[in-house]
Amino acid sequence: MDVTLGLLNGGDDEDGGGVPSDGSTTNRSILTGSKEDNNNNNMVVMSSEVTSSSYPVVGDESLDGLELGLGLGIGGGGGGGGLKSKMVASGGGWNQYARILTAKDFPTSLVSKQNSCSSSSSVNIPNNSSSSGTKRTATDSVSPPNGTSVVGWPPVSKAHRMPSLASQVKSPTENFVSKPEQNKSKNRTVGIKDYSDERNGISNKKYRSVKVNMDGTLIGRKVDLNAHTSYEMLAQTLHEMFFSRWSSTEAVKPSRLLDGTSEFVLTYEDKDGDCMLVGDVPWEMFLSSVKRLRIIKNSDSIELAPRFEENNQRHRD
């Protein structure tokens, strides 16, 4: 069965800042379960880190208990252990990140567990390091490692989350809040038509931010697409965002993001929820169909479809 899941938290606003979600909510993206794989419950749910018990870890070998992978991105299953270590390493201070819960073929629909997504929060006072390597069921609340951020912290109100107005944009796919009292059944989103191409002449009139997540990095960023005029510019920006801070042994040049020769591949999720390689279509067409960006490891994405299957293979054991 394929499932499209979104993860909900109490918050309703998307916002900017460098993170896909603000301090309050989880990553509210939906990851479309691979449609071609209907033979597993490769359901991916992202939940926020809120509560204070120790957190689960992906282990491939265990069958009992839900195992949770860490990190963002579709390839989360495969990168579970590795991602976790990366997260702990970079988790100095507190940060907002999301977890992927990967449900195996479990009878319990652990996917719908949003126990740790409630807007309640508690956090480990920094210097507590939670133990790693313990497996828990999804019903256990997950605990953040050293001083991670929680819902609603820091207490910055909606108006002052940068970029200020772009943060109020949410794509419809990310909105799962059903509001029964709204009899018009409109989503609480800014209409995407507001960002139609009719105004692309004067770019400063419209601003369009999409989230960018990189495999292995817990914090996503946002990039204003309208501020870029070409793929090269975009790649440059992303390079600065994600790679310039590393003591980069990778030495990834910006252009290499686009041509598949670097370790990372830039992909995007389009209006239909499909994961596409960036660079195939003309820039304007790309602008009109992109919903979010993802930088994935090259090894994980020889082709996109087989990647899912690989994961499925692993989890099926």
């Binding site: 100095g92 912290w153 200020s164």
Partner: protein, 671 residues
């Protein structure tokens, strides 16, 4: 009778009451009645939701003869003579209207008293007035035009309508403040419609409605627009549930609209067509603020609207308005006092400064400037001509660096209020300290609050620089990533007049980064030195010592926000015992448990509300509290997943005369 004789005055604490109310100690007056009038010790919430619960120990109201007021009042007759209504300290006496009132002194005609009281604006004073005696209670209720309701569930609209028959203006606040940070689930409540329904019959002439953190639907807005024919002013701050369709209804039907102020709302922005719905006949607009709306409005409609509304004094446009559009707008309304610009840069540069440099030269009344999105060094000089007169500059959407800010501020000598992004850094704050000696309010927002890798922003040294240069600082909101006890102590010494001190060290539980000690002494210094402190928000690594200081020294504290702080129940107990004037207490993620909660048993009725989330409170303690205090609503919000049912993860306690909520959603449990 000598109506015009002079009186020797000793004016006791009359607060902001009108000057007509003066004390009279003149020897020519008749002696006070031997049995002073007095006021019952206030227990009931009813008369003073918006004011204080406890009797006005410190207030003395003496009303002399009315001839000092409204001398044209023709109904003044010999009834007045030399009467005094004097009211002794209200602490320990009880009211007996008939005995002291009618037999010993002749009363003012009620209309006169109402005329006098009509001049009293402060709702706290009005509450005090209403406690004096039954006559005054009635006079006050008939003369009141504006009611402020700080918690929409503390009173029901029916009660309000029954008590105040002649309201023209209502201010309503709904959700707890932590709903701004997504700690309150959606559909929690605070729906404005029940209020509007009652008001439509009780106050058909309602003119102003100001809502904060209420749930507002388009249907409600339409209802408002259609049912209230004289409606003038709508202000929506941090409300949610409506869309621009609701604004269309307001624009279309409110023929006398003077104010439309939309801020920070969770709004469905379906397009900018609402602005075009203002009819051509509408010329009364004075305040228009749509800065927080995303979509583009018709500039043509906006320009025409601005041109024909000659009384427009506040205009805040959204980011889509370009610089040359702004210039055109300003040419139509040079009388503006407050301006929020649109985007402050142009793509096509063709001599920007020369083109726009006269934009502000005609705006002689401009004292507030905001917006300034995307402002760059190239375009900022455009505002220099207006800077000298500015008292409030909101740069919280402009990512300025220190040098840009410095250049700008050198022109802004009159600034009283300044909002910044922390991109300006400590150097930018040095400029603040050196350029703005009159500064009273500073807010520094984080440009990137959720990115923990950023090491930029402001630190303790920026704050200290400001405090050195701006001794008049009263209000500070400061987001930073590091702070020291010594710095805060210095700041307190430099600026002893703080009334609002909100310090957010963004990493929860972070100690003094130099000494590694808790930040207890920092806040200790603040509360010891700043005796006028009304509002405090604390952060960093804090033990119970902080709360001990707060309880001991912060005697004027009214609002306290606590997160990730404290070591034991004692912390909260200190505060509840020590802070006499505490009205709002909001706590999250602290180790306070049942003992702490119950230590405030007798206090919560004198407060507006208490919020505790992610603490160690159990349901049983909440039940005890609810049982002991039937006039409190003790509400517990359930997590979606249950978890441990005995833990009360989110507790919201508030006083009320309206009983338990009738519209509570399933996840809110009223005990």
């Amino acid at each position: 009778m000598n109506p015009h004789r002079k009186r020797a005055k000793t004016v006791d604490r009359v607060d902001s009451a009108d000057s007509a109310l003066v004390s009279s100690e003149s020897t020519q007056m008749r002696p006070f009645p031997s049995k002073p009038l007095s006021v019952d010790r206030v227990k009931s919430v009813e008369s003073s939701e918006s004011g204080r619960m406890r009797p006005f120990k410190d207030k003395i109201l003496f009303v002399d003869r009315v001839d000092s007021v409204e001398s044209s009042e023709s109904s003044r007759t010999s009834q007045f003579s030399d009467k005094i209504s004097g009211f002794d300290r209200a602490d320990s006496v009880e009211a007996r209207v008939d005995s002291a009132g009618s037999t010993r002194m002749s009363r003012f005609p009620d209309e006169v008293l109402e005329r006098v009281l009509a001049l009293v604006d402060s709702h706290k004073d009005r509450s005090a007035v209403s406690l004096v005696c039954k006559e005054w209670y009635n006079a006050e209720r008939w003369s009141r035009r504006h009611v402020f309701i700080g918690n929409c569930y503390s009173v029901s609209p029916e009660i309000v309508a029954a008590r105040f028959p002649r309201i023209r203006s209502v201010t309503l606040k709904g959700k707890p403040r932590f709903s701004d940070f997504n700690l309150v689930p959606e559909d929690w409540g605070a729906d404005v419609q029940p209020w509007l329904s009652v008001f439509s019959t009780a106050y058909p002439f309602l003119e102003e409605l100001r809502l904060k953190r209420m749930a507002v639907t388009d249907e409600s807005l339409e209802f408002l627009a259609k049912k209230f024919h004289g409606f003038k002013a709508l202000s929506l701050l941090s409300c949610d549930g409506f869309s621009t369709d609701g604004l269309k209804a307001i624009a279309t039907h409110c023929k006398n609209l003077t104010e439309l102020d939309i801020q920070e709302n969770g709004i469905d922005d379906l397009g900018g067509h609402w602005l075009s719905c203002f009819p051509d006949s509408l010329t009364s607009l004075e305040i228009l603020n749509f800065a927080s709306l995303n979509s583009e409005v018709s500039f043509d409609a906006l320009e025409k609207l601005v041109s024909r509304c000659k009384s427009l004094r506040v205009l805040k446009v959204n980011r889509n308005i370009s610089l040359d559009q702004l210039q055109k707008l300003l040419s139509h309304c040079p009388q503006l006092m407050e301006l929020g610009t649109g985007t402050f840069m142009q793509e096509l540069i063709s001599g920007p400064v020369t083109e726009f440099k006269n934009m502000f030269s005609n705006c002689r009344n401009l004292i507030t400037l905001s917006g300034l999105w995307d402002a760059t060094p190239l375009y900022l000089p455009v505002i220099y001509p207006a800077c000298a007169r500015l008292t409030f500059l909101n740069l919280s959407y402009a990512t300025l660096r220190s040098d840009e800010l410095s250049n700008l501020l050198s022109h802004c000598k009159s600034l009283r209020r300044l909002w910044l992004l922390d991109t300006v850094g400590d150097k930018g704050l040095e400029a603040v300290g050196s350029c703005c000696p009159l500064l009273e309010e500073l807010r520094v927002f984080p440009a990137d609050p959720f990115d923990q890798e950023i090491l930029l922003g402001v630190t303790e040294s920026g704050f200290v620089s400001v405090s050195r240069g701006c001794p008049k600082l009263r209000y500070v909101l400061y987001f930073c990533r590091q702070m020291t006890n010594a710095a805060v102590a210095t700041i307190a010494q430099n600026c002893p007049d703080f009334t609002h001190f909100r310090l957010c060290i963004m990493n929860p539980g972070q100690p003094d980064y130099l000494t590694k000690e808790p930040m207890d002494e920092a806040f200790g210094a603040i509360v010891k030195t700043c005796t006028k402190l009304q509002r405090l928000a604390i952060s960093g690594l804090l033990t119970d010592r902080t709360f001990e200081y707060i309880g001991k020294y912060a005697k004027n504290l009214e609002t306290l926000s606590v997160a990730f702080a404290g070591s034991s129940d004692l912390g909260m107990e200190y505060v509840l015992q020590g802070c006499q004037k505490l009205r709002k207490l909001e706590i999250r993620d602290c180790p306070f448990g049942n003992a702490a909660l119950l230590s405030g048993l007798t206090k919560y009725e004198s407060m507006r509300s208490l919020w505790m989330s992610a603490c160690n409170v159990t349901m049983n303690a909440c039940r005890v509290l609810a049982k002991e205090r039937p006039r409190l609503n003790v509400e517990v919000m359930r997590d979606e997943e249950g978890g441990d049912d005995s833990q009360a993860n989110k507790v919201y306690v508030y006083r009320t005369v309206a009983g338990p909520r009738k519209d509570a959603p399933p996840f809110v449990l009223t005990l």
